[in-house]
Point group: C2
Chain length 489, copies 2
């Protein structure tokens, strides 16, 4: 399949490259995809990394029902307005019409609120810190694999706190210590951190915090949000606790989510005209091993690559993963895959480069004598002959260099394509060029409507201090803020 060049049609490039890398298939359900093993592995790595961080914050996992009684949606006005058009509604069960229809969860605030009601008596019960890994359905009109699908997967955290300040601090801790740490260190993606404008914040939230990376085309991706919901939902569901002064009070609520949309961020941030790149820390395989066959050396070469696979993983066991030619070695720390197909080396290399795995090992007859192999990085382009006793350390160093290079590329892209703007015309020029525009905004919502109508752009966030310090100068007027304007990926 030919991959459409990015310059020609970025959206088509995105679809082509994700399909070619075997990340998804379209499913026979409107707007849904089948997540193939490679994208499931990416999600699993994100999940494991975040789970460790959540454990350290004392967050506990729950599993709430998939279905929500429709009547619950009446309890929070903003919430129903936001979600009503997107709901998938179950009307039949037991082969007959149900007395009350259920919605498939578009998010779980409503069920968590109901749950909290029974768990809370006194300030001594607080904080309550919960999370769940779940699937979500939002019936979207326009869908794009990973970025916007009718069904997606995410984690959603829901916590209650005694005070506004504690809740706010926790929402920020999730943003920084869990989300940004994972996005930067694991996914190798940089972005701008801040809060959403009034019109862009979550339905029912006091404040929505966000981290907005720049994708390959200079558009912004909302990769995670952390909401200080405050007391609104709590009032709707009449959730109260006895505070330290003995009065009944509504607790302060936070919710926060990061979804499989992030896989789309990885594709776009690290991909180029030819292929995607999986960040080394997210790669299922520490290396893919490609034996080079001559005329009659097949058995010797095969024995040698098996030895290499054992060195890389520490495992002696060969596992059939798919069909006749692909075999894996699974170690405690890393896996490797051997491609035993007897096809031209160039063809093999080309295929594995498209697949996006960051490192490969090639070896043939000549290497056996020398006890060496060739190790190549898809990211840095480095390729060298390595003695077997240096193989493990070389792979580890190469992986870290690759991981660093990807993050640096993302950082530089963001840095070089973020520009201060003084007028609407400046903003239009910036977003048309695939850039983030920084603008001093008087907080008038009419501005947001205008940039949407004229440039198909939105306000992405009001950045926290300390970023782009040379550009993000203190606003000149006291009633204005700096805002990032960009197109939505």
């Amino acid at each position: 399949m030919a991959i459409t060049p990015q310059k020609q049609d970025y959206s088509q490039w995105y679809l082509d490259v994700a399909k070619e890398a075997d990340l998804f298939e379209y499913a026979p359900v409107t707007g849904c995809i089948t997540f193939l093993p490679k994208s499931v592995t990416l999600w699993q790595k994100i999940r494991e990394t975040m789970q460790k961080k959540l454990d350290l914050l004392g967050v506990q996992n729950m599993m709430l029902p998939l279905l929500i009684p429709m009547s619950y949606f009446e309890k929070e006005k903003d919430h129903i307005e936001w979600f009503a058009p997107e709901l998938a509604v179950v009307t039949h069960g037991w082969g007959k019409q149900l007395d009350e229809p259920y919605a498939i969860r578009p998010t779980s605030e409503l069920l968590f609120c109901q749950f909290f009601k029974n768990r809370l008596t006194s300030y001594r019960d607080l904080p309550l810190l919960y999370n769940q890994w779940a699937n979500i359905i939002r019936w979207e009109k326009r869908t794009r694999p990973f970025l916007r699908t009718t069904e997606f997967h995410w984690q959603e955290g829901h916590t209650l706190h005694e005070s506004h300040d504690e809740a706010n601090a926790f929402a920020l801790s999730i943003l920084h210590d869990v989300y940004i740490a994972t996005i930067r260190d694991l996914m190798a993606i940089d972005g701008i951190v801040g809060r959403k404008s009034e019109s862009e914040k979550f339905a029912g939230a006091d404040t929505t915090y966000t981290f907005e990376p720049m994708m390959g085309n200079g558009w912004a991706l909302q990769i995670c949000t952390s909401h200080l919901l405050g007391q609104g939902f709590m009032r709707g569901f009449d959730v109260t606790f006895q505070n330290r002064e003995g009065w009944l009070e509504n607790p302060y609520y936070t919710s926060w989510g990061l979804s499989t949309r992030s896989i789309g961020g990885i594709i776009s941030s690290h991909g180029d005209d030819r292929w995607i790149i999986i960040p080394p820390r997210m790669s299922e395989y520490g290396a893919v091993i490609l034996p080079i066959y001559g005329k009659e050396n097949t058995d010797r070469v095969n024995a040698y690559v098996r030895e290499i696979a054992s060195i890389v993983t520490g495992s002696q066991t060969e596992i059939p993963v798919r069909g006749e030619y692909f075999r894996a070695y699974v170690g405690d720390e890393t896996k490797t895959l051997i491609d035993f197909r007897n096809i031209r080396l160039g063809e093999k290399i080309a295929e594995w480069e498209i697949s996006g795995y960051p490192q490969r090992i090639e070896c043939g007859e000549r290497d056996i004598e020398q006890r060496t192999c060739v190790v190549a990085s898809r990211i840095t382009g480095e390729k060298k002959i390595v003695p077997l006793d240096e193989l493990q350390s070389t792979l580890a160093l190469m992986a870290e260099a690759g991981q660093k290079a990807l993050l640096e590329k993302s950082r530089v892209r963001l840095r070089e394509n973020t520009v201060p703007c003084k007028s609407l015309e400046d903003i239009g020029e910036a977003v048309n060029d695939g850039k983030f525009a920084l603008y001093e905004w008087d907080k008038n919502p009419a501005f947001e409507q205008e940039i949407k109508d004229r440039f198909k752009a939105t306000t992405r966030c009001i950045p926290f201090e300390g970023q782009f310090t040379d550009m993000l100068l203190t606003p000149e007027k006291s009633d204005t803020v700096m805002v990032v304007v960009a197109r939505n990926f």
Copy 2:
């Protein structure tokens, strides 16, 4: 809350004890429960253990859609008959009626078949080995927490093979190397392994393999099944491959699942009139630490229990997990929880015993001088004073002894309550006494209807050889089989 004695009403005991141990809450959705953190942790341990074993078999994870077009159910006749009454049907999306309704998956054979169709050309593409961790909805009339809930969680494996024998061997490998290994070694539950009768096997399967443990009341729990589906589904969906002889052929299909029902098995198998017991290998906490306060020593005791928590986990960081008094230490290998409430020690102990965590540490003023603490096992009843430098090894040994004791209890129960029967009257007596009946069966389905009508019992499995060798004698007639009859938990 008072826990109903097992002898009085086992079903009520089960509900009481699961509720009291904080494993679930009833959800505001018919037949659904909210899985509280403790049961989610149990499921997570099962998932991690099985995932490692699946990795070693080369099985890859997928995520297929939650929704299945209703028209797909027409393609496999047995399948639709089995599942039609249990389907939850989505009829509305985008705020309007959908052109085609969708069912929420009651299992995913239909979508996997459609998926396989596009993946398969030649025998060289086989085997295809996939699994997914997913939520399922089956609209059941009678539900019981964990055992039978409208929504439940499971893994479902779906594999294709070149030959009947290879598929059969794989279905058996899943049964033995993944399921039974996990159920015995992690959940500490023993059972009988075999295959289901014609009428009890899965809709559309050639053979269904099963492992049936005996619950605390002598009833059987179908905890996992592994199906050799053969070529039936493949024909319905027209999935073919070119075989080694060059002919088009349908591949051989296996599917297999283990669900959150297993949590019900843990409750029943290890619980008694007073409480549940969590097997040590499944426990979130290596130990729960209970400080004993005197009159004015609170700070000293608190400092000492913090030191103990650090020794147990290797972590110095205290994490608030819930409310004011509960703090966790999270190490790489294990976690521990400190209950800082200043209440009577007896009350504290009683509460933690009900919670089911297998080990606790108590320590007070006196221990500080001696540099000791008291370690107690909920399983073996062992309780002893341990110097701090022996604490880690003592906990590890105690955990293994407890794990072993639980499995042995399960093994002995099964052994002592499985009886050979010569007549229907014998069977009736056995199942009324809470026993498994072994019976030489002529495979006439009328027998299955009769034991259902008269004793509310079903055939559980036709056991493989090598179990109960003194009882499971070779059937006397050539056209009969030995069968296990029991009540369904």
